[in-house]
Point group: C2
Chain length 117, copies 2
């Protein structure tokens, strides 16, 4: 037994730091995840939100960074984990920041986003 499944930790809005938000969004994969979460405006599970060519352990790591930065809410739903943006809380603390970033962000070039014929 290598490890038990710990519950997700979400920082309260008060402790969310701008630097952590920027750091989380500075990674192309995480930016793409957030893009997908905002486009489809319903919660997405991890494999749907993340670029599918990445190893699961890498995906999991990126979700952890997003969660600990305060950008996303994750909830276990049976065997999957559904993720949603904490967009209202963040926009209240840092008005316009995430909106401007997502507006400027181009889709990540990866197998998922290449033309599906």
């Amino acid at each position: 037994m290598v490890g038990v499944q710990r519950p997700f930790l979400h920082p309260p809005a008060e402790t969310i730091r701008l630097e952590s938000i920027l750091y989380a969004l500075a990674d192309p994969v995480r930016l793409e995840i957030v893009r997908r979460l905002i486009s489809g405006d319903c919660p997405l599970n991890c494999s749907t939100a993340a670029p599918s060519h990445l190893p699961k352990s890498t995906q999991s790591h990126h979700f952890q960074v997003l969660r600990e930065a305060g950008l996303i809410q994750s909830e276990r739903r049976g065997t999957e984990v559904v993720n949603s943006l904490r967009i209202h809380e963040i926009d209240e603390k840092f008005p316009g920041v995430v909106a401007a970033i997502l507006k400027a962000a181009k889709p990540l070039k990866c197998p998922d986003t290449e033309r599906a014929n």
Copy 2:
């Protein structure tokens, strides 16, 4: 002789990437540098723009990151290097991003910004 002094490289506007901008601003020291560059709206030398408690090699590294991200312009002026924000170019490529971030950014807590009595 350990190394010659290379000229500064500034990426052309076309190749500036959003991720690099965010990455550069995700560091508290670099965010503070950019804050100072925009407040005083004239170019500042490195030691003035950077928190003074940091080693010079660390300061130099942070300016390099900001430069290579395309956030700042650096120019040698005699013995010093003066730095200015490439704010117009960046705002044209990524409208509102840097403005929103700087608006949300609090001054870094460091000896420089603590109350000068």
